[in-house]
């Protein structure tokens, strides 16, 4: 190894350290600030270690109200997005190439539309119909683009589907509905669960679209952002810490499940 290589290696090691520090330092500081007695969330200066902000979080009624709003919205988004996204994927994959190109462009267009524009367009349409902002519009606006993610995930799964299974079932006398319910749906199940999971995450984390259609309802993201203006306390950090912990545990569980599945199927790509 010559000198230039060694310098390159050193530079790369430095870059990697900086990259992951950039990635995790803000989250680490936000989490650590939960335990600081300071009224404004920070770690400098450290004014004493405390658990009081967890109590404050527990007693924060409006915050729990906003969590509840987010949960309701996410529930209905899943209810709308998963069936519609699946239908879109099935429709798309049964079309001929030319029609498919156009429909595909239309179907992914919400992903290329800025979030604020989706919110605004939904808001003005429904005002014309006499419906103001609120949970109903939040669900519609969020679902309009979350459906795209569901559609893409189902399309990806469908590409590995073996159509001869359907033909065999039909040949054995099953009805078309039976074939759909007993063969295609079970095959799609992992993709549908993953899509529902992603839909919940996308819905709960959404801010840019939700902000315009929320009316007088306050989902969690809006509540947190408002807190920054009206007086942030480390109770919000306690909430962030809880969410980070759930996330990390979820990520680890997912990784373990994936490895177990990969081991069970003996390196099979399915």
């Amino acid at each position: 190894m010559n000198a230039a290589d060694r310098i390159a290696r050193l530079l790369f090691a430095f870059y990697m350290a900086a990259f992951f520090a950039y990635l995790f330092a803000p989250l680490a500081i936000m989490s650590a600030a939960t335990f600081n007695a300071s009224r404004f969330p920070t770690v400098t200066p450290w004014q004493g270690t405390t658990l009081q902000w967890f109590t404050a979080l527990w007693n924060d009624g409006p915050m729990w109200q906003s969590v509840w709003t987010s949960v309701i919205v996410a529930f209905f988004v899943v209810l709308v997005a998963v069936p519609v996204g699946t239908a879109a994927a099935l429709l798309l994959t049964s079309l001929h190439a030319r029609a498919r190109g156009f429909l595909y462009a239309l179907m992914v267009s919400p992903l290329l539309t800025p979030g604020v524009v989706i919110g605004i367009a939904t808001l003005v349409l429904w005002r014309q119909l006499g419906v103001g902002g609120g949970i109903f519009l939040i669900v519609l606006a969020q679902a309009s683009f979350i459906i795209c993610y569901v559609m893409l995930m189902v399309v990806a799964r469908l590409q590995r589907f073996d159509r001869t299974q359907e033909e065999a079932a039909l040949g054995l006398g099953a009805s078309k509905f039976m074939v759909f319910r007993r063969i295609l749906l079970p095959f799609l199940r992992p993709a549908l669960i993953a899509a529902a999971f992603l839909a919940v995450l996308q819905s709960v984390e959404n801010y840019n679209t939700t902000l315009f259609v929320r009316g007088f309802d306050t989902p969690l993201t809006v509540y947190i952002a408002t807190k920054v203006r009206t007086g942030l306390t480390p109770a919000v950090n306690a909430l962030a810490l809880v969410m980070i912990t759930i996330t990390v545990l979820g990520a680890i569980a997912y990784e373990v499940a994936r490895r177990r599945q990969a081991a069970a199927s003996g390196g099979d790509q399915g």
């Binding site: 990697m16 936000m30 239309l106 800025p114 605004i120 367009a121 309009s144 078309k176 990520a251």
Partner: protein, 293 residues
């Protein structure tokens, strides 16, 4: 279409078609058409709506063109979003290259897990983390002061803060497309270039980047679009002097009370984003179907 009916039978196929139609017309096309309608009409009191003054015009767009402050913020949002895309690319490229070409499968798995964790946490909390880090009396200033790098605390909120928060928020949208496109590059090509005497710099510039062009274009397009349409980062990490175009739009709706002008501004933003997306993809010869993977 007939294949759909043949495969699923009349009942199911009709339900599928109906659901897709409801989505595309009711939730995608109709809202956008109504937004265009709003954008082209004047803002009138209820009594005059439908009256002689209620005519289509480009007045709302012309207002943006003639209002100096808004125009300046619009152009600033464009170039700042391009800057966000460029910086995100520079930050992500070495890691994407290493992951795609040098890392062992175990390292890749671990790195991807580490990368995704911050992104399962929502964008508002991620931005809040930066808000805490960059506070005037916050940890970053404290560290820099104690190291003697600066003598007085720096006001990070503003352009710098918005930039840092946005690059942070969109790393994954840049990293994964680049990683995927570099992964398909044969190691032999890089070795061949090296054996022929190319420097590392030249290998990246002439071999890796041209090969990864599609992924780079996809990543840049997404990052640009997300940055231009972002509201939370400028709202939390910005300062009065660093206003973002989305904030102007928000004000028309919820403070200025002129939805027509707000819709016009939103339409301008939409057209701009679509133009940037389509032109970039065309230049990089990327198919729309390959973008959304």
């Amino acid at each position: 279409m007939s294949e759909l009916y043949g495969r699923f039978g009349g009942g199911l196929a009709t339900i599928f078609v109906a659901l897709v139609l409801l989505w595309l017309t009711g939730m995608v096309l109709a809202p956008n058409i109504m937004m265009i309608d709003y954008a082209l009409r004047p803002n009138l009191p209820p009594a005059q709506i439908g009256g002689p003054d209620d005519v289509y015009s480009f007045d709302n767009m012309l207002y943006l063109a003639n209002e100096g402050v808004h125009r300046a913020i619009f152009f600033k949002t464009i170039w700042a979003s391009a800057l966000v895309a460029f910086i995100t690319f520079v930050v992500c490229y070495p890691l994407a290259f290493w992951l795609a070409q040098h890392a062992t499968p175990a390292q890749t798995g671990l790195a991807i897990l580490a990368l995704t964790i911050p992104f399962w946490i929502n964008e508002v909390l991620r931005t809040l983390a930066w808000y805490i880090l960059l506070a005037f009396r916050g940890p970053l200033n404290a560290v820099l002061l104690s190291l003697g790098i600066i003598d007085d605390p720096i006001r990070w909120y503003g352009n710098g803060g918005v930039l840092a928060g946005m690059v942070y928020a969109y790393i994954l949208f840049m990293l994964f497309p680049i990683y995927n496109s570099i992964e398909s590059l044969e190691k032999a090509q890089i070795e061949a270039a090296r054996d022929l005497g190319a420097s590392s710099w030249r290998i990246h510039w002439r071999v890796v980047i041209p090969h990864a062009k599609a992924g780079i274009a996809t990543g840049c397009v997404f990052t640009f679009m997300l940055a231009a349409g972002s509201y939370v980062a400028p709202a939390l990490l910005g300062a009065p002097g660093s206003r973002w175009f989305t904030e102007i739009i928000y004000n028309w709706f919820f403070e200025g009370g002129d939805w027509n002008r707000g819709a016009a501004y939103a339409l301008v933003l939409l057209v701009l984003c679509l133009a940037v997306v389509l032109i970039t993809l065309k230049l990089a010869r990327v198919n729309l179907a390959d973008v959304a993977k």
